[in-house]
Assembly symmetry: C2
Homo-oligomer: 354 residues x 2
Amino acid sequence: MKAKIESDLAGAGHATMQDVARHAGVSLKSVSRVVNREPHVSEKLRMKVEAAIADLNYIPDIAARSLAGSRTFIIGLLFDNPSPNYTMKLQAGVYRACTEHGYHLRIDNVDSSCSPAVLESRLDAIVRNSRCDGFVLTPPLTDNPQVLDFFDARGVRYVRIAPSVEVDRSPGVLIDDEAAAGSVARYLWDLGHRRFGLVTGPVEHGAAAKRRAGFLDMLSGLGLTEPVAEAAGGFSFEGGITAGQQLLAAQHKPTAIFATNDDSAAGVMVACSQAGVAVPADLSLCGFDDSWIAKSVWPYLTTISQPIEEMGHAAATFLLDRRDSQPALRTLQFHLVQRDSVAAPAQEKSTSVA
Amino acid sequence: MKAKIESDLAGAGHATMQDVARHAGVSLKSVSRVVNREPHVSEKLRMKVEAAIADLNYIPDIAARSLAGSRTFIIGLLFDNPSPNYTMKLQAGVYRACTEHGYHLRIDNVDSSCSPAVLESRLDAIVRNSRCDGFVLTPPLTDNPQVLDFFDARGVRYVRIAPSVEVDRSPGVLIDDEAAAGSVARYLWDLGHRRFGLVTGPVEHGAAAKRRAGFLDMLSGLGLTEPVAEAAGGFSFEGGITAGQQLLAAQHKPTAIFATNDDSAAGVMVACSQAGVAVPADLSLCGFDDSWIAKSVWPYLTTISQPIEEMGHAAATFLLDRRDSQPALRTLQFHLVQRDSVAAPAQEKSTSVA
DNA sequence: ATGCCGATTGGCAACGCTGTCAAGATTGCG
DNA sequence: CGCAATCTTGACAGCGTTGCCAATCGGCAT
């Protein structure tokens, strides 16, 4: 079984760099140079080596590469409490970037709700054991100071998805929640709506606050004087139902409701159907996220689409392309997806504004 | 910077097995034995080594381990066309099993809709490059003959999630779809329902056929003579709407509808609200999967819960525990989740059965 | 005591690749 | 035309572990 000596194909196992070198008649190191696209390689040599690589169907061994070199060719995706839709899209984007760069994707789950000490050791285990070239942090890890401190202290590269506190602290990929909510306001306003309801999210959620502010600011900028009715929806379906009931019980029902995420918007829709309020005939409803639920309700929800897959891709690309870790932010474009839950308000005597 | 010679802590880097050996005053190989729980290690030596490991906070280097040994300590999770909810749960289960065994989870996405040649090379790249100790296959990869052939030919270990064709071919984890659908039938029957509607899934989907058969067989076994009205829902929300409209348009409306997955059940619910049919007062509705949407509709959907996370865990555990790869199946328990979309049928003159 | 056998322990060569450094090839310039 | 500067290429020593084989240590039958 030691007949490996003269054969190119080294018996049963797969071709190694050694095999390629022999086949091409060059040194081991030269093959390494070609594989790693290092400079100072003549065209001729590169061609020879590439031909040999193709001939032998050579694929570098990751384990050996990471042992010998400093790179591991692995990107870690960290999440906590994953919301299926969001996380899967993100993961798809990160994965795509990884394959584009010949990297691999490793998944790790971190429960940030545990004690700082436990969290610390958990992170330690992940970082040391994984030896990743970089991590992508998803919310709520994104905004967890302890996690950030940990990575910074270790000098481990990472990119934050949708950071909302200390935004400039490290590289991140995000959308402008405020502007997005503003665009919803403007859209509804332009349609003629003047009486609004707002379903807010959890107070501790950074994006929730921005969406609320963006919506309210735009409206007052547009000249709205009447106050916007608010109800807490907690970003959940059930919360949305409650909030919807509240908003619908008011003396002057709003003609349009903006729920700051899709789940609560779906809840509002239930409240409407319970109250006999037709969407969008009697009430326009707008969500945020373009999550999967937006097309699992009837009528389909008009909502803000975040390019989540794109954000994952951008984050990983950040890690992979820019070896310098200067803090830098990448803001991606949201867009308003017009579906069926929004219409102009029903005719009333309410053409009040000058 | 080469002052590593006498120190235990080897400067800036992390402790290596060498450091542990020195600290414990034993040989390198002995540390390896302890770490790998190999036999022929005296209690005394093991204690010493373990103490040293704890002292130095030693964590083995995966890259070195996989390079030197035959194991890689990585499990690959392969999916295609991931449905967010299902996949995330599965992934969570697989991940849990991995951490329990000190393994890592690597994700790979395979598009099985491409040409066989492309698929072949894609699989080749994944298997060779990943060098995983085993793969978990999710539907529809689970039932793709080419994928199965590929892995079998390479002698790569894998476990199938929810196999439905050639079930005995390789290790797999599944539930009894037929029995689950049967339990729905019995549940509705016991409540007094005698006029049924069935929303079917895609014909090419193995589980869809089983659910239909299980439902129908149970009903006829129970003595139902009236035919069950069927409509194609294609496992989708929109398909469910159409199917629901169809079913509801019939002369004798069914008093209970079984949609073979939750998405289509949600669609049926929309059809109901459009038709002014109250759920569950006028019509009972039952889904299948207990996916996330089951609690994103109102009323909450009564459905069959598959232990998806558990299935992922079981699959990975299979890979990790049983080093022998005898085909073996593990059937997990489903259960009927009673929520709010099912009730006894409204009183009619229809107490027909003897 | 003597010799032998199995249980322990250690030594050392891979594993496949990259980093460092030096040697050879080529070019430019005085 | 010679020598330095630069570009290309190669040799070789690890990276941190495991696998294999040899050495050592007890204990037990003789």
